[in-house]
């Protein structure tokens, strides 16, 4: 188990969370504002969150499972891959869990793949299955 310190320590098999939270209208509006998603469904008649917000669940899980922070190097996000099973509802308790499925080296760089499952907390309805790939350092290992 490589949780408990830095994000750069994470290894295959590590489980992060689960954590529970409730998506707020403020979060949806401001996230969409920051990303120029100005459509009415995200700014005025807000009932669902954009599925891309699941990416920030990764940071939520990192903060919980890796309290010492990023580690000696900055991560670079490489791939976002989200299957949307159902809309992310606003104002409903949600549960998120991360599982590190792979850690490997390619051309001198360390890659980490984490699967993040976002479900409703009450009835465990799947909302998003997200596969996130990061490179742990831009600089190649010597």
């Amino acid at each position: 188990m490589a949780t408990g310190r830095y994000v750069t320590d994470l290894d295959q098999g590590d489980v992060l969370g689960p954590l529970e939270y409730t998506m707020s209208k403020f979060v949806v509006r401001e996230y969409c504002h920051a990303n120029e998603l100005h459509q009415d469904c995200f700014q005025n008649d807000v009932k669902v969150a954009p599925p891309t917000l699941v990416h920030l669940d990764k940071l939520r899980l990192y903060k919980h499972a890796c309290p010492a922070g990023t580690g000696p190097t900055a991560r670079v996000h490489y791939e976002y891959d989200a299957t949307i099973h159902a809309p992310i509802p606003v104002g409903v308790p949600l549960r998120v869990k991360g599982t590190v499925t792979e850690r490997y080296e390619k051309r001198g760089r360390q890659y980490v793949i984490m699967q993040i499952d976002l479900n409703t907390a009450q009835d465990d309805k799947p909302l998003i299955t997200y596969r996130d790939t990061v490179i742990l350092a831009y600089k190649k290992a010597d």
Binding site: Y31, A34, C41, P51, H55, A74, H77, E79, I84, K139
Partner: protein
């Protein structure tokens, strides 16, 4: 509009510059979302908003977070398909080239398949990408949108 979409139909957003401000908006929204206090929260330096920190990490300067590109692609899909683009389906993006400060970014999508299913949905398969002003691809991926039939 969706009833007229067929394989090969292409959409694109107008070109945008990946300004320092746009990069910082994404940096600051991350902690803002975590804290959810009704206020904007700033973050410590990152490779997306601090030149010195980015150079220390081996980069020539600040680079955009890939999720900005992904969200611009999502925005294009929502413009075309409405909220259904955020409700059921898939979006997959890979960041194949860094986007530096003031780089031109154009979000694009092209329909690759159209299929009616038994759930009353038309499922659109798409190639999605972001390109620069010269047509060089920066982000590539695929999407599936389940559009409810009227």
């Amino acid at each position: 509009m969706s009833a007229q979409l067929s394989v090969g139909t292409q959409f694109r957003l107008p070109p945008r510059l990946m300004t320092r401000e746009r990069m910082r908006w994404y940096v600051d929204i991350q902690e803002t979302v975590q804290q959810d206090t009704g206020r904007i929260v700033t973050q410590p330096p990152t490779i997306h908003d601090d030149d010195a920190y980015a150079k220390k990490q081996g980069l020539p300067g600040i680079i955009s977070d890939g999720m900005v590109s992904t969200n611009w692609i999502l925005s294009l899909l929502v413009d075309v398909f409405g909220v259904d683009a955020a409700s059921k389906g898939r979006l997959s993006t890979k960041y194949i080239a860094p986007i530096y400060e003031d780089g031109v970014v154009i979000a694009c999508a092209q329909v690759t398949s159209v299929l009616d299913n038994e759930s009353g949905e038309t499922v659109y398969g798409l190639d999605v990408w972001c390109e620069d002003g010269a047509g060089k691809k920066l982000t590539v991926g695929t999407a599936a949108v389940h559009k409810r039939r009227a």
